[in-house]
Amino acid sequence: MNLIEHLPVLQVILPLLSAPFCILMRGHMLAWAIAVVASGAAFAVSLSAASIVADGATLTYAVGGWAAPYGIALEVDAFSALMTMIISGASLLALIAGMASIRQQLPEEKQSLFFAAWLLAMAGLLGISVAADAFNIFVFMEISSLASYVIIAAGPHRKALGAVFKYLAMGTIGATFYLIGVGLIYLMTGTLNLDDIALRVANVSDPHPVLLAAGFITIGLALKAAVFPLHVWMPAAYNYAPHVVSAFIAACATKVSLYVLFRFDFTVFQPNLSGHEFQFGHFMMPLALIGILFGAIVAALAKDLKRLLAWSSVSQIGYIVLGASMTSEAGMTSAIIHMFNHALAKGGGFLIAMGAALYYTTTRFSNLAGLGKEHPWLSGAFVVIGCSLIGVPGTAGFISKWMLVNAALEQGGLGIFIIAVVVFSSLLAVIYVWKVVELFYFEPRPEGASSNAVVVKTPEKLLFMMVVMLVAAANVWFGIFPGEPLALASQAASMLTGGAL
């Protein structure tokens, strides 16, 4: 009974306190084990929190016993529960699958530090999801960003450094913009607690600073979420990060920034600023539509599996933003469920890239031909995950696209245009997924292509294949039985848009 009360804080504390232990462990296997156990514990906490909030309840926690609005509050509702599930689940699966890949890409003496930074990144992301306080969101955002710069820079190629520097500069600008926005709001309302802000913003003497704050916060978070055209840091960072980091970060990092953006905009600004729904929708929708097409086109031209997946993320983030930009409950539901489904598909995609690199050294297309014959299970899993990226019926990706199209139909004439863009971009997705499938199955293994970069031990291989199969199966399972995540998503959407009425 007591433990349930403490679930929101346990979510953050577990990985945060495990991180120092990772550093103390000299053996890299022990550090790995601690990281896995901490992720698993965080995942268990998020599952139990999700089961409590699924019916619309909210878990609140006053840190140190100081009640909100003066104390620091943590809050878990349906939306944050879904986010924490995505984050801790992605971390757990990537770590279990990534054992061999980490050994391949990182020197052994650095690994315990790497796992510590990984846990800090996860703690930061989880913290953003449970914080109910605008400034704490900033602090957790910086914890997660600083730690993710470190784990991305661990990539073996020197281009990882340039990519991280760009990410660091743009990420800091984004976070600072957010900080300016929070400052302006504090100036006008004198409070930092999100619920309290939502109450007090309605009575401010002059709405202009609040409008300015909305602008700063939207741009800052869009920068961190890699919304087109602020995505330029993202493809290189995902491409040159260690494979295991790509799988983890691609599944959750940008979505957490979108989570903050939606939460702020839908609960604070839209109910209290007249016409802000229109401003938000009409600002974000063109960006989303262009991003969807642009990302898919560049992905179709890519010559490297990880690069392809990274650009496909630009396009998929567009779908999430597009759903939200309709500012309707149906649109928001599609956006939130797509966060979950895309995490499954993209995390899985990067796991496959990791497996390919494990057997064939690189993820360049020139070196991946013929994978289907030598590793049929791995390429089979890619076909399933690729279908989910496209949105083929029977996979998770279809559910979110179906919801998106249904939401677009409510929009009248504009909706028809939106549906046309979605259909066209799905065709582009067919092209880029087919390119890989053709490469895997219909092209012979090139003469003298390098293979077996690293000796993969049997237990490592078993764990890796188990996780890949699990993720592929989950893509199908949640395409046929979307019940639980969909319930959380529609709960979250009705909560967010309910505030907007």
């Binding site: 400034f135 900033f138 602090v139 910086e142 600083l146 710069y149 470190v150 820079a153 020197r158 281009k159 450094l161 340039g162 991280v164 520097f165 660091l168 500069a169 800091t172 600008i173 600072t176 900080l179 300016i180 400052g183 504090y186 100036l187």
Partner: protein, 119 residues
């Protein structure tokens, strides 16, 4: 003359823009980081200035009367955290620049791009 009285907000805005210009326009990675630091410092000033009340003192229990005018201490506490974040970001950025120098032999963006393209 309202705009003269609010000069501290002008300082914030101008410093912010100088910093942003540095990050975007400079081709040297260290100069970019200097710009980034300026950009963050501008926000620190913004927070400090909004908590200050003319003639206000620090609200300390037992050392002040309830009739005194108080400055708001909370923005200062907040910005203390943000300063720590800023220092960590700069330190991490500089350490990445050191590694870039080791890997490429230069910290000029143009040279790095050229070496990347030559691969």
């Amino acid at each position: 003359m309202l705009w003269v009285e609010l000069y501290h907000y002008w300082v914030f805005a101008i410093l912010l823009m100088i910093g942003l210009f540095g990050v975007i326009a400079k081709r040297n990675l260290v100069k970019k980081l200097v710009g980034l630091s300026l950009f963050q410092s501008a926000v620190f000033l913004f927070y400090i200035t909004m908590g200050k009340v003319d003639g206000g003192t620090a609200p300390i229990v037992g050392m002040t009367d309830s009739t005194d005018v108080f400055s708001n201490p909370l923005p200062q506490v907040l910005i203390l955290t943000a300063i720590v974040v800023g220092i960590s970001t700069t330190a991490l950025g500089l350490s990445i620049v050191v590694r870039i120098k080791e890997a490429y032999g230069s910290i000029e963006e143009d040279v790095i791009h050229e070496k990347d393209r030559a691969e």
